[in-house]
Subunit: 153 residues, 2 copies
């Protein structure tokens, strides 16, 4: 066990796990729609105004479709998949950078055959997420690429 | 050219370069001791209180030995080398996490045969770096692992 506050080693098996970092549920079950996502908080300190988290979506899984005032600054770290940001859908793979601006609807979806692991920097002080209502979803589905993203065959 | 504000793709050649992100000098020449370091600001926005930068130290190079009140939250992304933090020296490799607490002297040194690339999250609002004076260096060299780090053969 490494109890050194200065460092947290990556797991030697390459599993995108760190000693001294807990693997947490992404959200409480039933609080919002999502599938097969884990969350690890890599850096959160009272003397820093940003936080860095690592999320991993298992193959075929997806994060919650949501929006909020605070910005997400994302770097893909592992695997691949697709991102929905606002009305855009695009493929993402390792090291791509994605900015989720204020109040942009967004969701990350892993490929069927690969996980999607990504870093996400946020402000420590931030607002809560909003979920789409039926009207929001209807509006989003007016964009064909978004409709295909939200309802994959 | 990708002028989409939502995304910046990683260079397809795997060179840890991103479109829309400039590769900058680490610091102005002569302002502080360092060798073979580049700097890329991946995320900096007026509506975020954290910043995420990518630094890359070429084989045999090193960052500036310095300290400051603000914290560095580091994830190694590529290659390997050694880190000095406070009075500790340790080997680092991809995905290791390093915390540089307030006023800890710190320096990153790439291996002779590999670069050392790392992400560094900082507060956007932060103090300037301090360089060690002769007395600080003398004090640091009283720790044998630190002396070996500072004066590699």
């Amino acid at each position: 066990m490494n109890d050194d506050p200065l460092r947290a080693f990556a797991a030697v098996n390459g599993g995108f796990r760190w000693d001294r970092v807990d693997v947490l549920r992404y959200k409480d079950e039933g609080s919002a729609p999502f599938r097969d996502v884990t969350r690890q908080t890599l850096f959160r300190r009272p003397d820093m105004r940003g936080e860095l988290r690592y999320f991993e979506v298992a193959p075929g899984g997806y994060s919650t479709l949501e929006r909020h005032e605070h910005v997400h600054a994302v770097m893909i770290l592992r695997g691949g998949g697709e991102a929905l940001v606002g009305e855009q859908v695009f493929a993402v793979e390792a090291y791509d950078l994605v900015t989720v601006p204020p109040l942009a609807w967004h969701q990350f979806r892993a490929a069927r055959t690969a996980p999607l692991g990504f870093l996400c920097m946020v402000d420590a002080e931030r607002d809560k997420s909003q979920l789409p209502d039926a009207r929001d979803l209807e509006q989003l589905r007016t964009h064909p690429p978004v409709a295909r993203f939200l309802d994959p065959r």
